[in-house]
Amino acid sequence: MSRLYFTKDHEWLRVDGDVAVCGISDHAQHALGDIVYVELPEAGAKYAQGDQAAVVESAKAASEVYAPAGGEIVEVNGTLVNDPSLVNNAAMTDGWFFKLKLSDAGELGSLMDEAAYDAYVKSL
C-alpha cells in the first residue's frame, strides 16, 4: 500500500516500502505553464532532504526541484527528456521525475498528506 506526501515547495512523493517516486504537483505544473525541459539527476546520486535534485524549465522560466526526502536516486524518468509535456499532462503519474531509496523514513513526518496539501494550495 503506497502513501502520497507533498512538500510546501510543491513536490510530491509516493512511498512504497523504502522507495519513493517523486515529481511535481499538478498545481505546480499548471502554475509553471508549458514545460519544455527537465534536467534530471543521475542514478546513484545522494541527496539530503531539501537539496536541489532537478531543474524544470518552461519556455520563459526555470525552477529548481528539491529532494522531498533524503536518499539515493535509484531510477530517473528518462521519458521526460524527450517528452517534457508529460509533466503538464500527467504530473502525478507518468510525469514522475525520479525514484529515491529513502535514507530516513522519519523525514516523511515533516511532509503533508493530500488533504493538507490541497488546503495549503487553497490558502496561497
Binding site: 505546480a28 524544470v56 524549465e57 519556455a59 525552477s63 509535456s85
Partner: protein, 526 residues
C-alpha cells in the same frame, strides 16, 4: 521546488479569420532561407585564378563539401533586403523598449567609423602608425571620466555584461590586495539578471535585498545584511523601476563603512548624464553602455561596448590594455610585463576594445557637447514623465512619480479583463508601435516599462499616448468571449503572427537541414 512563474504565455491561441494561403501578402514578402536559394554554377564574388604552388596545408586539408549555397550578388542583395523588411528599428517606428534606450542613431557616427584611418587599421600595427586611434581612445576616456567625475576608466569590455564582470573583477582584485576574503555581494531584487549572474560567475554568493513599497532599496534591510564578508553592492541607478535611489549616498556610506565597494550598474546613465556625476554619489565603479547613453547602434543585438569608470580605490586594478599619454604621444600598455600595468587584474579580451563603438560614441558626444548631453537627460526624463502623467488615469502605476527616463506600469488595470500585458503589447504592434519592455522588472506584476528617450517628438508621444489610452479602455470595456477576443489574435498585420515558443524549446531546431522548403515559401523564391 522554486515556483518561478513569472513567464508569459508562449503558445499562441488558434487564429481566426485567416486561412494559411501562403505566398506573398501584398508587399509582405515571403523569403526562403539562403540555403534554399542556392544553385551550383553561380558565384557572388570574382577572384583571380589560383596560381600554381606546392601545397603546405599538410595532412589536414579539407576533403568533404562545406555545404554552402552558391548565389550571385543580385540574389544575395534581394534576400537580405527582404529580410530587413521583416524587421523594424528606431528608424521605422517608435520603439519604447524600457531599459534598452532605443534612441536615434546619428548617421554621422556611421560615417566616422568607416573612415579608412580607423576602419582599415590593424590592432597590432606599430603604435607609431596608430597615434590617431590611440588619441581617440584617450579623448573618449577623458570625456567618460569627466562626465562621471571618476578617477579612472577602462575601455576594454565588449558590452555591458562584460563591463559588469570587469567592475566586479576589480573589486575582487582590490579585496585580495587588502589580504581579505569577502564572498557576499548584495543585489536588489529588482536588478537586471546580469547582476546576480555576474556576481555568481566571479564566485560571489548573491544576497538579495528587498525593495520598499516605494520601489527603492530598503535601507534597514540593507543595514541588516552588512558584515565583514560583504564584498560590495551592485545597484542600478536610476533603478530598474525607473526611479532615482534617494538614499544612494547613505547606501554608499554604509557599504564603505562595512569595508565593501559600490558597483553601480550604469545601464541607465542616459537619464542623468550631465546632471549627476556618479563620483558624487560615492560610486566605486560603473559600466557605461555606449549603445544606450551614447547611441551606438543596437544592430539587432550587438555589438555593444561597456567601458567601466573607477574610483581612486579601484583604478589601479583596471584591466589591460589602456592608453597613457606621454607628452604628445600615446602609449599603449598591453601586457603585465609592462611596469606601467601595475596591479591590473589582466586582460579580458583580445586587442584593445570595441574601437568601432568608441568612434561612434565620441562622435555622438562631440556633437552634443556638455550642454547637449545635459539636455539629453532633461528631455529623456521629461518625455517619460509626460507619458506617466498622461497614462496614469487609465493604466496603473505601482510607484509615484516623478520617474526618471522610463515610465513603469503594472497590470492591475487589466484585472478581470482577460487581457494580459503581453496581449496589450501585441495589439500595439498592429497599431504601428514596437512594444515596450514587458514583465520586467520582475518585482512588478505584469510590468510595462516604457522608455521614450529624448529623440522622440511630442507628436510621436501624443500618438502613442492616444493609442495606449484606446487599448486600455478597450480592454476594460470587455472583449467578448475568449475565442473572439481580438487581443488574443494580435498581431495580425505582421510578417508572422504569434509564434509557438513552447514547441521551439521542446524540440529545438537550431539549424537548417537539407529538405524541401515549405511550398508557400518555395513558390515565392524568385
Amino acid at each position: 521546488m522554486t515556483m518561478n512563474t513569472h513567464g508569459r504565455p508562449t503558445q499562441p491561441a488558434a487564429p481566426t479569420g485567416h486561412a494559411n494561403t501562403g505566398e506573398h501578402r501584398g508587399m509582405i514578402l515571403e523569403e526562403p532561407l539562403i540555403f534554399e536559394r542556392g544553385t551550383p554554377g553561380r558565384i557572388g564574388v570574382d577572384l583571380p585564378p589560383v596560381p600554381a604552388h606546392k601545397s603546405r596545408l599538410g595532412s589536414a586539408s579539407r576533403q568533404g563539401q562545406i555545404g554552402l549555397p552558391d548565389l550571385a550578388e543580385p540574389q544575395v542583395v534581394r534576400h537580405f533586403t527582404r529580410l530587413s523588411q521583416k524587421n523594424y528599428g528606431i528608424d521605422s517606428v517608435f520603439y519604447p523598449l524600457g531599459s534598452c534606450t532605443m534612441k536615434h542613431n546619428p548617421r554621422l557616427n556611421e560615417k566616422m567609423a568607416r573612415l579608412p584611418g580607423f576602419a582599415d587599421l590593424h590592432p597590432l600595427q606599430p603604435t607609431a602608425t596608430t597615434q590617431g586611434a590611440l588619441g581617440l581612445m584617450h579623448e573618449l576616456a577623458h570625456w567618460l571620466m569627466t562626465l562621471t567625475g571618476m578617477a579612472g576608466v577602462t575601455l576594454a569590455p565588449a558590452a555591458g555584461a562584460h563591463g559588469e564582470f570587469c567592475g566586479m573583477a576589480a573589486i575582487k582584485a582590490a579585496i585580495r590586495a587588502r589580504g581579505e576574503k569577502r564572498t557576499r555581494v548584495l543585489v536588489p531584487e529588482s536588478a537586471h539578471g546580469t547582476n546576480p549572474a555576474t556576481a555568481a560567475a566571479l564566485g560571489f554568493t548573491v544576497d538579495a535585498i528587498p525593495a520598499t513599497a516605494e520601489g527603492r532599496v530598503d535601507l534597514d534591510a540593507l543595514k541588516a545584511k552588512l558584515g565583514p564578508d560583504v564584498a560590495g553592492i551592485m545597484l542600478t541607478n536610476p533603478n530598474t523601476c525607473g526611479l532615482f535611489e534617494r538614499d544612494i549616498i547613505a547606501i554608499a556610506d554604509l557599504i564603505h563603512g562595512a569595508g565593501g565597494y559600490f558597483y553601480c550598474d550604469g545601464a541607465n546613465f542616459n537619464a542623468i548624464v550631465g546632471r549627476v556625476r556618479p563620483a558624487d554619489l560615492g560610486v566605486d565603479c560603473m559600466h557605461i553602455n555606449l549603445h544606450k547613453t551614447f547611441s551606438t547602434p543596437h544592430g539587432g543585438g550587438g555589438p555593444g561596448s561597456g567601458p567601466v569608470v573607477f574610483s581612486k580605490a579601484l583604478a589601479p586594478f583596471a584591466p589591460l590594455p589602456f592608453v597613457q599619454k606621454e607628452g604628445e604621444a600615446c602609449r599603449l600598455i598591453e601586457s603585465k610585463a609592462d611596469k606601467a600595468a601595475g596591479q591590473s587584474f589582466g586582460r579580458m579580451k583580445a586587442f584593445h576594445g570595441q574601437m568601432g563603438m568608441f568612434i561612434r560614441a565620441l562622435s555622438y558626444i562631440l556633437s552634443h557637447g556638455a550642454d547637449g548631453l545635459r539636455q539629453v537627460a532633461n528631455d529623456a526624463v521629461l518625455n517619460a514623465n509626460y507619458i506617466l502623467a498622461r497614462l496614469q488615469d487609465v493604466m496603473s502605476a505601482p510607484f509615484a512619480g516623478p520617474c526618471m527616463h522610463e515610465a513603469l506600469f503594472d497590470d492591475r488595470f487589466l484585472k478581470d479583463t482577460g487581457v494580459t500585458t503581453l496581449d496589450i503589447a501585441k495589439m500595439l504592434i498592429d497599431r504601428g508601435y514596437h512594444p515596450m519592455t514587458m514583465y520586467f522588472p520582475l518585482v512588478v506584476p505584469g510590468a510595462f516599462l516604457i522608455e521614450p528617450t529624448e529623440t522622440e517628438s511630442r507628436e510621436t508621444l501624443d500618438g502613442f499616448i492616444k493609442t495606449m489610452r484606446d487599448l486600455a479602455q478597450q480592454a476594460k470595456a470587455g472583449t467578448g468571449n475568449a475565442n473572439a477576443n481580438p487581443f488574443k489574435q494580435a498581431p495580425e498585420h505582421t510578417p508572422r503572427r504569434r509564434l509557438d515558443e513552447t514547441t521551439a524549446a521542446r524540440q529545438p531546431i537550431l539549424k537548417w537541414k537539407p529538405e524541401a522548403a515549405p511550398d508557400y515559401i518555395a513558390s515565392a523564391a524568385e
